[in-house]
Every structure is written in structure tokens, then in C-alpha cells.
Assembly symmetry: C2
Homo-oligomer: 407 residues x 2
């Protein structure tokens, strides 16, 4: 008997039959004595369809009105699930974001949750209702409808779990949990049973799509135990929880690969104060997010500056770099689109000094050249040529002892 | 320069191009200096699609949750129109029923408006916004989403017009206005320039689909001038207004025809107190609405009781009548499905005694037999065989001088 938030994503509510399977799942928990709040996404594909519709109305749809439109997606699935539950004789009530008391800031399209006024949810739970909340949406302090951005239903679920002090927030998805790496790249990938918020956050940032980044930040901040598991079977998935002593015995928990970046190098930049500010100020003015930045020392008062941006910003970043290069007297701008960022992540790095060496040795053993390196407290990332990305993932997976044991 | 509510129905917002035409219409008024509140229905067909979706989830969808689902229809069109208006540089804001302050009772699916808290609408109007309200929906006092039933957007529009003291409530539709009769039946039907609330109400009740009955009741109660006009052209339509002296010069304003009823007769019912109560009590217990009731006096302490019900209730009403007939000792139950109710409506009847005679004479001139007659202060209805319905409409239209003059 537990207080649970259960979140189901778009593929889990893709059609009426799938929503009926969600109802099976939810009522099973309820019948076991659990109190359940269900958080739903829109049916798979619906949000994209609504965006297309908006784009046929306006080339740049007004963000407030786009939120009003997009909110219909989760409204639909929440109403349908509540109907199915009531049809089966359960007491259930759907709540839209504003009814569930999800208060956000005014940033239409990517609103941040400021507060959850959970009194209506808790009152319904006390009356033994299954509460079905439309995810992804809230309202700002003026009563406007807002949405939380892609994957926002994860954040809705974690935030509600935090507000009602749920025992667990279960995120049902189309995979079995969080894996040591992408199983499509490495057949020996293993499901991770338990992972810390910090590691999960690094993995989400580095492209593991299983949880939205902000939902992990929220879970970490409010210490909400998150259980990532499959909506297709009853297996235990991955628990995302606070760091604990036993976790540090594992040096590396996962390996990720991100092919969504491109590299730009400004050659022979004068090594003077303020030059970096000029380069990255110009990029920031154009709203371009820079990921890695490396500055190599050269002789003769000159240096090379290299950085990476997402592929979608690449063209614009190149144009700006050419202009800035002339301005500051850099000799050349070199670019590379065919790169991949391969990373190893693990809490154990904090107390283990040999991780970088192991990583570089493993890559060298396959003659994979490292172009850029960056590190955080629990992560090491190397940029390599894109064609080596999958090989790099597999060799690192083996090198850090992550391979699944043969059955 | 006027304060206007403009309501557009499903065919007027059927797709993005049609919604753009609505934007043309609205901005034209706005550019002329009018302050405008727009009320929209869902795209034509969408409400039916949502009902089918609900029926695939549950054989009898919960009414509260059905309202949550159906409300997405008007939410979609309101957001899209607001986007288009903003795209064209106008300040515009969409409001859902609950945001527009439309407070209803708790009757999900057929809620009645209790109050309009129009302060948000008026504040936006003062800031020169075009306010786009999702029709058909409101919220009850507990914050649940409710809907107003079929055609409810008309009622939303009239209620808002009343609350903000609009100069006029324009109902844009796919016809040019209210006609003296159905132009598909009678080619000489004329558009009525001005009609009283009372007449419009009778015509709506008798099957003229141009305005929802409750919207007319609302307009009458709060004295809201309603302008029914085409969304496809700029012609003046029909003004629905308070009764005025000049209206009584026209004896009959319109002729209607309703084929949606069926007739049941109980033969030789004992002419005793309480017998009618037994018959109609049993029908009422089964939630069957009875329209006309006629009791013919017969000799020998017996009488025939005839009544009409809608065709959808006919089968059930027959079963109940058979049971009741046995109970009370009636000899027979006769039924007729192929009937039509032809009515003439006009304020002028109040002060004109010859209307019934003219009606009966006109029908007799074509050998149309009258099976039942009922009257109100401003209406006379005759039930005739269905095959004569169109002929009856045309002959009455001519007899009361309604025919369009030849060009």
C-alpha cells in the first residue's frame, strides 16, 4: 500500500486499446490498496499534428495561443482514461493542469513549475478517487494556460509526486529502464537497477532520451524516488534515487553517444584578454548555445579556439565565426560536422583517479583519435570522428566492465 | 463604433482557410472602430468525432469526462483564430469558458449558464484586444468543465453579449437569416428582416435550426438584440428583437414543418378522473416528452386520448401505451409514424381572430386532412399526413401572404 504517481507517455496512450491497458495497470495498483495519481501525455504524434495545424494558421504561431492548442492533447487522453476507469466502476476524476494546481511562470511553451497547489488532488485521493492529471500543462499566475515543453509530462509527474509526498513516481515508457548504453549500438548493454540523480542527469543531458532533463533536476531537488519501467511488462525497471555509498563501488555507470554536435575551430587567435569574450559574446547574442570550449596554447602569442554547437545552430555559428575571425585577426576557421561526443558517466569517478587513463587507452587500442576532451566531476567526454562513434561506445562499455554477462 | 459579439458556427470554422475568413470579418469590424468579442464553435464534424472517440472508450461515457473531451473542440478553434489575428498584427487573446468567467450549473453535457463573470473580457476589451472565446463551454462552481449542449455556442454568445451589454450579438451562419419557411420546401420563402423573440422561440422549438432554443430564451430574458446573418456575404440578415408595435401588422411571420413526431391514440378510455394522470405519468416515468395531447369526447362515458412524441421515443412510448391500455381498460392502441406537424407563427394572431379559419380553409382547399390541432397564443399547429407536409407548407405560405414577390 503506497501513494504512487504513475506517468504514461505518448506510445503508452497511442490509441484506445493502449489507454485501456493503462487502465489495467492503474486499477491493478489501486486494487492492491495503492492510492494512485496518473499523469498522461498526449497520444503519440498528436502534439506534432497540432504544431502542424498551428503552422498552417501562422508561420510563427503565437506562443500563448500555441499552448492553448497543445494543451488539448493531454486533455483528450486524461478524459478518455477517466471515462474508461469510470466505465469499469472505479471512482476517477480527470484534472487539467490548472485544475490540478500546477502553477508555472509565464514562459509560454517552456514554462517552469513554480508551485503545485495539490489540495484538490489530495482531497480526491482522500475520497478514494483515482486522479488522472493531464501532463505537460499548467497555468500561470494570471490564469493563462502554459505548457512545459517537450517531455514536460515527466516533469508534471515528478512535481506532483513531490507535492503530495508520493512514495514513488513511476515513469512508464516503451523501454525496460535506463541502460548502461544504447542497446541498439551495443548488444551487451545492461539495464541499470539503481542510478543516482546526478548520473541520470548527465545521461539525460548527453542524449539518453528516457527521462526529460528537467524532471531529473526536479526529482533531485525534491528527492523524489523515480522508477523508470516498461508499460509493456511487469519487470522492475531502473530506480533513480539519491546517491548512496554502494553506488561508488561502480566506477562508470553508463556510456553515451551524441552525434548532434558540430565543431568549429578559429586558428591563430591573438592570445589577448577579451578575445574569448568577443567570440562567445557574438554567439550568445545570436542565441547559440555552445557546449564544449577548448583553447590550446600555441607559441608566439597565438592560440587556437575550438568549440562545439548543436548541428541545428551550426550554419549560423559558422557565419558568425567567419565575421568574428576577420575582426580579431584569426587566420582561419575550420569546421567539422562529422563528429560524435562519446562520454562515460559515473559517481565512482569522484574517488577513482584512473578513469580518464582507462578511457584514453581503450580508445587508442582501436586507433580512435580523440579531437576534444571535456570533463565534469562525474563525466568524461571525448569528441571523435562520427564513423568511430559506435565502436568507441562498445570498446568503452567493455573497458569499464559494463558488458552483460553471457547467459 | 459598437460593442459587438460575433459568433461563428462549425461550418464557418471548418478549416484553416475558413478561420482566416473569420479573421477577415472580425478585423473589418475592429478596423471600423468596433470592440469585438468573438465566440467560436468547434470545426464542423469535430464534436461528432470526439463523441465517437468517447464511445470507443466507454459504451456510456461519463458525462463529466465527456465534457472535458468535447471542450477541446472549441479550445482548438479559439487558439487558431487568436494565432491568425496576432499573426496579422492585431492584439488578440483566446479565453476558454472558465477563463471567460462562464459559470454554469453542474449538469454536465447540458449545463445552464448561471452567471458570467465578465471582468476579464471587459479588461481585455479596454486594452483594445480582440477577445476570442471558446463557445459551448463553461465551468461549474467547483471548477469542473461543463458544456452547454448542442448549439451551445449560440447561448455562450448571447450570454456574453448580455453580460458586457453589447450593442448586438451577431450570429454568423451558413444561411442568410431567418426565413418565412424552409426555402428547400417553398421556393417563395422570404428572408425576414425583423422578428420578435417570441416568434423566433416558437420557430426554433418547431424545428427552424438557425438558432438554438435556449439562446433565444436568453436573448428574450435579457433583451439582447440578435442579428442572424451569413458568414459568406455582407448582406443584412434577420434582427431578432423585442416585440414592437409595427410587428403586429403582420398576422403570420412564418410557417414551419416538423416531421420528427409520431402519434399514438388510446381508444375508448374510460372517462374518469385520474385516467390521464395514469397514462402520462407512466410516460413521464420513462423520461418520454409528450408534445401535443388531444382528448376527444365520445358518448357513453368513454373517450379517445391522442398524443405525439418524438420519433426516437416512439417505440418505447408504444410499449408503455400497450401496458397502460390494458391496465385502464382502453380497447385499442392506434399508432401513426407518417405524420408531420405544420405550424403558422405570428405575433399578429393575438389581435386577429381569423387565423385558424384561414389555415383550415387553405388546407381544405388542397384536400389535406387535419388529424390534430394545437394552439398557443402566437401559434397554430396542425398534424397532417407526412406526404402532404410540403404541400401544406406551400399553401399556408401563400394563404398568409408570405410569398416573395416575383422579381
Amino acid at each position: 500500500m503506497a501513494l504512487k504517481v504513475q506517468k504514461f507517455g505518448g506510445t503508452s496512450v497511442a490509441d484506445i486499446d493502449r489507454i485501456k491497458s493503462v487502465a489495467d495497470r492503474v486499477t491493478k495498483s489501486y486494487d492492491q490498496g495503492d492510492r494512485v495519481v496518473v499523469v498522461l501525455s498526449a497520444m503519440a504524434g498528436v502534439t506534432d499534428k497540432l504544431i502542424s495545424l498551428a503552422e498552417s494558421a501562422s508561420s510563427s504561431p503565437d506562443s500563448r495561443e500555441l499552448d492553448v492548442l497543445l494543451a488539448t492533447g493531454e486533455q483528450t487522453t486524461a478524459a478518455l482514461l477517466a471515462m474508461i476507469l469510470k466505465d469499469r466502476g472505479y471512482t476517477a476524476t480527470s484534472l487539467l493542469g490548472f485544475q490540478a494546481g500546477i502553477i508555472t511562470d509565464h514562459s509560454a511553451g517552456k514554462a517552469r513549475i513554480l508551485d503545485i497547489e495539490a489540495n484538490r488532488i489530495t482531497a480526491l485521493l482522500e475520497k478514494k478517487h483515482i486522479v488522472v492529471v493531464a501532463g505537460f500543462q499548467g497555468r500561470d499566475e494570471d490564469g493563462n494556460i502554459t505548457t512545459l515543453g517537450r517531455g514536460g509530462s515527466d516533469t508534471s509527474a515528478v512535481a506532483i509526486a513531490s507535492a503530495i509526498k508520493a512514495d514513488v513516481c513511476e515513469i512508464f515508457t516503451d523501454v525496460d529502464g535506463v541502460y548502461t548504453t544504447d542497446p541498439r549500438i551495443c548488444s551487451k548493454a545492461r539495464k541499470i537497477n539503481k542510478i543516482s540523480y546526478e548520473e541520470m542527469l548527465e545521461m539525460a543531458i548527453l542524449g539518453a532520451k528516457v527521462l526529460q532533463i528537467r524532471s531529473v533536476e526536479f526529482a533531485k531537488k525534491y528527492n523524489v524516488p523515480v522508477h523508470v519501467r516498461s508499460s509493456f511488462n511487469e519487470e522492475e525497471g531502473t530506480m533513480v534515487v539519491n546517491e548512496s555509498a554502494d553506488m561508488e563501488s561502480v566506477v562508470v555507470s553508463g556510456v553515451t553517444c551524441d552525434k548532434n554536435e558540430a565543431r568549429i575551430t578559429l586558428k591563430k587567435v591573438p592570445d589577448q584578454p577579451g578575445i574569448s569574450a568577443t567570440i562567445f559574446g557574438a554567439l550568445a547574442d545570436a542565441n547559440i548555445m555552445v557546449d564544449m570550449i577548448i583553447q590550446n596554447t600555441r607559441s608566439g602569442g597565438e592560440t587556437d579556439v575550438t568549440f562545439t554547437v548543436t548541428k541545428s545552430d551550426f550554419k549560423k555559428a559558422c557565419e558568425i565565426s567567419e565575421i568574428v575571425a576577420k575582426e580579431i585577426g584569426a587566420t582561419d576557421v575550420l569546421t567539422a560536422e562529422n563528429i560524435a561526443k562519446v562520454s562515460v558517466i559515473g559517481l565512482g569517478m569522484k574517488s577513482n583517479s584512473g578513469v580518464a587513463a582507462t578511457m584514453f587507452k581503450a580508445l587508442a587500442s582501436e586507433n580512435i583519435n580523440i579531437r576534444l576532451i571535456s570533463t565534469s566531476e562525474i563525466r568524461i567526454s571525448c569528441v571523435v570522428e562520427a564513423k568511430y562513434a559506435e565502436l568507441a561506445v562498445r570498446v568503452l562499455h567493455t573497458a569499464f566492465g559494463l558488458d552483460m554477462e553471457e547467459m
